[in-house]
Symmetry: C2
Subunit: 451 residues, 2 copies
């Protein structure tokens, strides 16, 4: 059963029914793009494409779903032929996209759907929801990684946000997006199993509280997990916590501190560990961390080996929504292309299917948004490639591990100022003269029609 | 296949394995509560319990899941007996909770799990994720409803946030929580089907852009949807839009405006409609609305019949995470109860399983958090009731429609000042002397142990 088919705004389906009743189903192109980067993001990291491709491959309506729709008041006037059409519905179009893990900017089409109008319309809601969320989390996670390694040292960050993610499935997708951006792994076990990414964890306060004393709790933990044991030392008092850990265990992996002034606690605990010859024991810090708190701790030379980051990355707490939209840009008429754009106030869109050319000379310098038939291959590389032709996937779709390598490469080529956690000058995304000409002539054409 | 079983932080399962290896599995009680209301919330609306109950009823591990766990490095030291235990694992404990739709405050236990330690530990992540998210959205949605009806007129609010929710499943749960809080329905079709709630929708800019002209687009829409047609009039120009709508349709339901200064546009369009004898045509406003913008429009006496609210409610944009936690409060020893509390800095918890008594005299006056064996039934009513006994559901679990009626009742009894959109004096939640005594004696006991 494919429940995801009905994760769709009703109007996509009523419009689909309307097009069907009007026997109007030309091939169209829609583009998915983000109007504006939320403050203070300087760039975004694309994520979610693998799930979009799976969705497009599996999209179909079963009889229970069709029966449900048929009985909705909105479909009262719709003929049986439409529901018969839905029963054999599948995605038969083309799909172009920017690969996962690419650094992108405002107004750059992340996905293009070229398909019969009805198909292109029905997939809108799911595509937006998946790309908006994973791209948002990956973009936040990249900032956290940057902060954690801002002194040039590699330092692992673990994704611990499942309990604060927006529901159980969001926790799995957030874990994927964070790993894609460079996190070392996640505490979410289903994400580990489904996407083959490392699952990580320490221990909770409840283990300590379950036994008569902290010492007893630690002894029993060590008894089971041996040299892999990580002790959470702040249930009662961190100094006593680390002393209990050293008392029960000759050899253990790490201590975690989850409350208080983390920088101060870490320094205190590191000293105690070192004084007792436990230089090899790692320190893990957690407790509502974000990129700013982490950067601050690194600046203070806090002795820390790993960070656990939860809420802030799994919800992209400071910017909890991306404003990706999905807009029609052209319609294939019999012998020519009809361009389409929207001219609502502050919501103008650019017509025609596009390509983005990225210009680089060691470091990336700027992007040029062009019509899809423009060619700058002698000076730049194209960001958009085709993934699906006539409903069939035509390339090996990179998985999250491959996308993760793309992120690392791209971030290295980015102007350093863009990596800053505060808003810097905007990366130059230019629009080709051809594209501007198409826009202007379309605008003139519309205005003449109105007169 | 029950994929949700693995939506769990790894440490829940490693601790479970540790308890198992230590042959330590006493009956314990955990409580789920929210430490602090996010600014500027004056109250929360509980939501998500129905899904939690389904989860507890269905919880089990299949062989593929067990095989995956067995091969993780974290389970290297764990005996086969534990994996055999998992293969017959199910929830066998008791569950108490505050019904969905109840108005609640900080530190009030929303769910209590009384079960063998291993079971109580394993369910933590899922419970937190589900209750945090749905309660957050329902609480935001209640504010939006309050704003939309702040002049005393009933005005419907539709949930349109699926494309900005945190992934596809979050869109379905957000729709449920918004409906629970009083929204008239949602655009999310799966939410409609799964929870039997109204699905609603209008039309998108793409319909207008798909045809040669707006007039042609509207004519074709009217041709299919007749008197139920709603026209989105801002693709090019709203005045021309409403004129096109009136030109093609003698009878239609509504117009929607989705950009520009909505209050100004609504006034302008209402005048044009009325001047043309279209008093019955409704106006729907949307475009990144929240409770503040809506309250402002109502204060300006904007002529509006319905609001469509998306991003802001589906992500609880201004407060995109609740900080619910799940803490052990007691352990059943052979002949007595051992209380448990956490004394980490700023993270102190209250020991013992509790009841909350709500005192009301026409209007609600205060809550008293008590130990579960205290009885104030002659003066107050208890918020917490039992849902599951020894793993079996013992009451009819109210669905979202019933919970929706609870919200309306509870909001009516709330002191009016708490309904304000800004932060007001905190509602009084007191702690009983018995509970304070338990806390203090536990603290003394711990301190003596340390000496």
């Amino acid at each position: 059963m494919n429940e995801e088919t009905l994760i769709v705004d009703l109007y996509e389906l009523t419009m689909a029914a309307g097009y069907f009743e009007q026997q109007y189903n030309p091939t169209v192109t829609f583009e998915l793009f983000i109007r504006e980067l939320p403050e203070p993001r300087n760039y975004l990291v694309t994520a979610g494409l693998e799930q979009v491709i799976e969705y497009l491959q599996n999209l179909s309506f079963n009889s229970g779903q069709i029966e449900y729709l048929r009985n909705l008041p909105s479909f009262k006037n719709i003929s049986q032929a439409f529901f018969d059409y839905l029963s054999t519905f599948h995605f038969s179009g083309n799909m172009y996209a920017i690969p996962e893990g690419t650094i992108v900017f405002a107004n750059e089409p992340l996905i293009q759907i070229e398909a019969p109008l009805i198909e292109a319309q029905i997939v809108e809601t799911y595509l937006l929801s998946m790309i908006n969320f994973q791209t948002m989390v990956a973009s936040k996670a990249a900032r956290v990684i940057h902060a954690a390694t801002s002194d040039g040292q590699q330092r692992g960050v673990m994704e611990f946000g499942s309990r604060r993610a927006h529901g159980p499935e969001a926790s799995v997708l957030a874990a994927r997006a964070a790993y894609l951006a460079g996190f070392m792994g996640t505490s979410n076990v289903l994400a580990g199993k489904r996407f083959d990414i490392p699952v990580l964890g320490t221990t909770a306060h409840s283990w300590t509280m379950a036994f008569e004393s902290e010492e007893d709790a630690f002894r029993r933990y060590q008894d089971v997990f041996k040299e892999k044991a990580t002790f959470l030392i702040d249930t009662y008092d961190t100094v006593q916590g680390v002393e209990n850990a050293m008392k029960v265990a000759d050899d253990f992996l790490a201590v975690r501190i989850d409350s208080g002034d983390l920088a101060e606690e870490a320094r205190k605990i590191r000293k105690i560990l070192d004084r007792n010859g436990r230089q090899e024991v790692k320190i893990i810090l957690s407790s509502d961390l974000n990129e700013y708190k982490i950067q601050d701790m690194i600046r203070k030379q806090t002795p820390v080996d790993y960070f656990g980051v939860g809420t802030q990355v799994a919800t992209s707490f400071d910017a909890p929504a991306l404003q990706a939209v999905y807009k029609m840009v052209e319609i294939a008429a019999k012998d020519h292309v009809q361009y389409r754009a929207k001219f609502s106030r502050n919501k103008v869109t650019l017509p025609g299917r596009k390509q983005i050319w990225r210009f680089a000379n060691r470091q990336v310098s700027h992007d040029l948004i062009c019509n899809s038939d423009e060619d700058y291959s002698n000076q730049a590389f194209p960001l958009i490639r085709q993934y699906i032709r006539k409903g069939k996937v035509i390339v090996d779709v990179p998985d999250v591990r491959q996308a993760r390598r793309v992120v690392a490469d791209h971030l290295q080529q980015l102007p350093q100022s863009l990596l800053s956690l505060t808003k810097k000058e905007t990366y130059p995304v230019k629009i080709s003269s051809k594209l501007m000409n198409i826009l202007n002539s379309l605008k003139n054409q519309m205005e003449n029609k109105e007169v």
